[in-house]
Amino acid sequence: MIELLLDMLSWVLLLSGSFFCLTGGIGLMRFPEFFSRIHAASLTDTLGASLILMGLMLQAGITITLAKLIMILILSLIAGTTASHAMAKAALKSGMCPLDQVDRSQQPEIKAYKDKS
């Protein structure tokens, strides 16, 4: 009984995780410019990865596989978010502006940031 419940829960987690990853991939292809693409790719990437890994953890039982999956989850969370932060910062510093009707390059905060770099 409890195994059936765990199986169902793991099915649900795996399917929703793959759904989120799929939407991230579609967003990566269809968004118009870099900053919106990074928004799509990194957010859905982190969520989808966490859901898929949690679904796999439920299948594993209390073994060393569970410990390794927890490590992969923590590493993926830390590394993925830091990498997307670094990418966005590097793109902003190199002069790319988000696609917006407002020209932001003359605003005082962005101007000070660019002058300081």
């Binding site: 830390i78 590394a79 830091t82 932060h85 670094a86 910062k89 770099s117």
Partner: protein, 331 residues
């Protein structure tokens, strides 16, 4: 299911290779070669070759990308466009390729069980490995014990590459004095990366040690561990600057350790000779052949790991020092 994954991954591989050939922006080419290595490693996993996939991932997608980037800093970002079309070369390549494919038609089918190597060599190793060596991972026992002499050659190849880079990118006496100056990097703006790297570095090093010593029981071994260790140190160098890292890994120490690893490997072989067996015959190292094999494999893998880690770090430092020198002395 596995066949489908194989076909999809192979077609990705072909597409990536075509894109690498066509692009002119060398940064993009380097990134795509990283993808190529990841794809090859996934293919090896699908073929159930776990150790090879491990090495391909760490060396091809990790260290190769970083070393290519370090050399791109020296040479420039865009490929020069050629004006001529090498038709004769294309014809020669096509002819040679066709002849090679025609030559392989005579070979046995991929993975068929009645090839000579599966009749004589592989069953001997697979059947006798547990009894003679007692190590669960057969790849490690073949690599470090049955074919230990070949692995000594591989380690020497890596060491020779390190010597080659050191002699080509020599740091002259005048610049050695300026090396003592502090090289400032833009620290304030990278604070998130710096904190995360500082947290991750001890974990990466412990993981490298785990891979080194767990190579007897699961995928791993000396090569992979050395590469992971070097990747951790390179991460630290990229974020904290070359001079900070060189306080912990000075150049002389790296050169010493590279030689020390090879010396350890060869020393184990000579010790076996002195104790009465053949070169690299670990049976004579302890009172009992199986324990002798364990000790021999442990020492030999340690030597490989030390050499690989030091040579990779040394090569990266040489490239980075070269570019940092340009930044500070072209005034």
């Amino acid at each position: 299911m596995e066949t489908l994954i194989d076909i999809v991954l192979l077609s990705f591989l072909v597409l990536t290779a075509l894109a690498v050939a066509k692009m002119h922006d060398l940064f993009a080419v380097v990134m795509l070669s990283g993808i190529y290595s990841l794809l090859s490693a996934s293919l090896f996993l699908d073929l159930d070759a776990v150790d090879v996939a491990f090495t391909e991932a760490s060396v091809g997608a990790g260290i190769s990308t970083l070393l290519f980037l370090a050399s791109l800093k020296l040479v420039g970002r865009y490929e020069k466009r050629t004006r001529y079309r090498p038709m004769l070369a294309l014809g020669v390549v096509l002819a040679t390729g066709t002849l090679l494919i025609y030559g392989t038609l005579d070979m046995p089918h991929f993975g068929s069980p009645d090839t000579p190597v599966h009749q004589h060599v592989a069953p001997r190793y697979l059947n006798d490995s547990m009894a003679e060596i007692g190590v669960p991972n057969v790849v490690t026992s073949v690599l470090a014990s049955y074919r230990g002499y070949d692995t000594l050659g591989e380690t020497l190849v890596i060491f020779t590459a390190g010597i080659g880079v050191t002699s080509l990118l020599r740091v002259s006496r005048r610049t050695k004095r300026e090396e003592q100056q502090r090289v400032p990097a833009d620290m304030q703006q990278q604070i998130i990366l710096r904190v995360v790297a500082k947290w991750m570095l001890p974990l990466i090093m412990v993981f490298a040690l785990y891979v080194q010593f767990h190579g007897d029981y699961g995928p791993g071994g000396g090569f992979q561990a050395g590469v992971i260790f070097a990747a951790g140190v390179i991460l630290y160098t990229m974020l904290y600057g070359l001079s900070t890292t060189q306080k912990v890994f000075p150049r002389k120490m790296l050169e010493l350790f590279a030689a020390l690893g090879v010396l350890l490997y060869g020393g184990v072989g000579i010790t076996c000779l002195l104790l009465g067996g053949n070169f690299l015959d670990y049976n004579v190292l302890r009172h009992d052949p199986v324990h002798g094999q364990h000790l021999g494999i442990l020492l030999v893998e340690l030597g490989v790991g030390i050499t690989v880690a030091s040579v990779m770090i040394m090569i990266f430092f040489k490239f980075t020092w070269r570019t940092v020198k340009h930044k500070y002395f072209v005034k």
